[in-house]
Symmetry: C2
Subunit: 201 residues, 2 copies
């Protein structure tokens, strides 16, 4: 028996989190043209995008367990994706400074005919940031590929006063819940695979 | 001018967090015989231990900024330190399974005549754990040097449903607040040092 686990995301942070499962997996980023329905609420939006990504990769890998994921930062009904410029990154960080925003991460797992899609919402509170902290942080380049223009697992850690919810969801993948959903859908765990002689990939 | 920053802790996790400041520092673990007053509440206990550690190292390094820290896991008024055996680690994890516990981290910064001591309290909720998850995790060796018998930044991440408070405090050091307290006490930041020609260490 051959079992595949596939991460349909190019994010190195998601890859690192999935490695905690100690199972071999492949990274196959989805090339889907994302269809964004502007009417959707954040929770529906991240789930829809996660599912589009998972399904597009699953089409080519019928037997695999395929994980898609999408993260959005929301402050006062405003959705903050990846910044398109350094100026936009600065503006975003000024908005988040001293305030509490929400991070939505949607996850979709597709395996054969089954689809399991869920999301996590985490509140993140920033300390008030000084102008020069923001300037320096943007200069570091860290904000540019990250929703909300910060990485909580990087230098962005220095901005965060507290969170309420799943930390790893803010990093990009709620790994504890994802792991549990994968097992429920029938992904053999490390030991079962060793015993049964199942090979991954 | 020579400015020293010293971490009075042997914890590799605290060292990694302090590196986020991008300032050179020395690790000088405190060798103090910890005086534990069993009457103390967790918040007082971690602050007292953090301060004992910082003060013992500061005595030998008068001009330095010395950081001491201590972490305790508390469940239903029971303080859970580092497990003394694999069996104790398993017992602790069974107690934490499916429940919410609190992590207290005390931090004390000593510089010349000034002492700044504070603590952070973070609530951590575990998913219900299966017996074999606990067995495997203890076999990995990860729980043995950690308060509460788990590392949230390691495979322990797979157990955590949600937290409320500072994630990095659960790892071992509330780095955002520590950074801010250091600046308030007069530690020059990276840029100020570069400009003034101040050398660290």
């Amino acid at each position: 028996m051959k079992t595949n686990l596939i991460l349909a995301s190019a994010s190195p942070r998601r890859k690192e989190l999935l490695e905690l499962l100690q199972l071999p997996f492949e990274v196959i980023p989805s090339m889907v043209e994302e269809v964004i329905d502007e009417q959707l609420q954040p929770a529906e939006m991240v789930q829809s995008l996660a599912q589009q990504k998972a399904e597009s990769v699953a089409k080519e890998h019928q037997d695999a367990f395929v994980i898609g994921s999408d993260t959005l930062v929301v402050y006062q009904n405003q959705m903050l994706g990846k910044p398109s410029s350094e100026d936009e990154a600065k503006e975003t960080l000024k908005v988040l400074s001293g305030n509490t925003h929400e991070v939505f991460t949607g996850v979709s797992i597709v395996h054969e005919e089954k689809i399991q899609t869920f999301y996590e919402k985490t509140a993140v509170t920033f300390f008030p940031l000084e102008e020069k902290e923001i300037e320096e942080y943007v200069l570091s380049g860290e904000p540019m590929d990250k929703a909300g223009a910060y990485g909580i697992q990087g230098f962005g850690a220095l901005f965060v006063k507290e969170i309420a919810g799943d930390y790893f969801s803010v990093v990009g993948l709620p790994i504890a819940r994802t792991s549990r959903e994968l097992m429920k859908m029938g992904l053999p765990d490390k030991n079962t695979m060793l015993k049964s002689g199942t090979t991954l990939l």
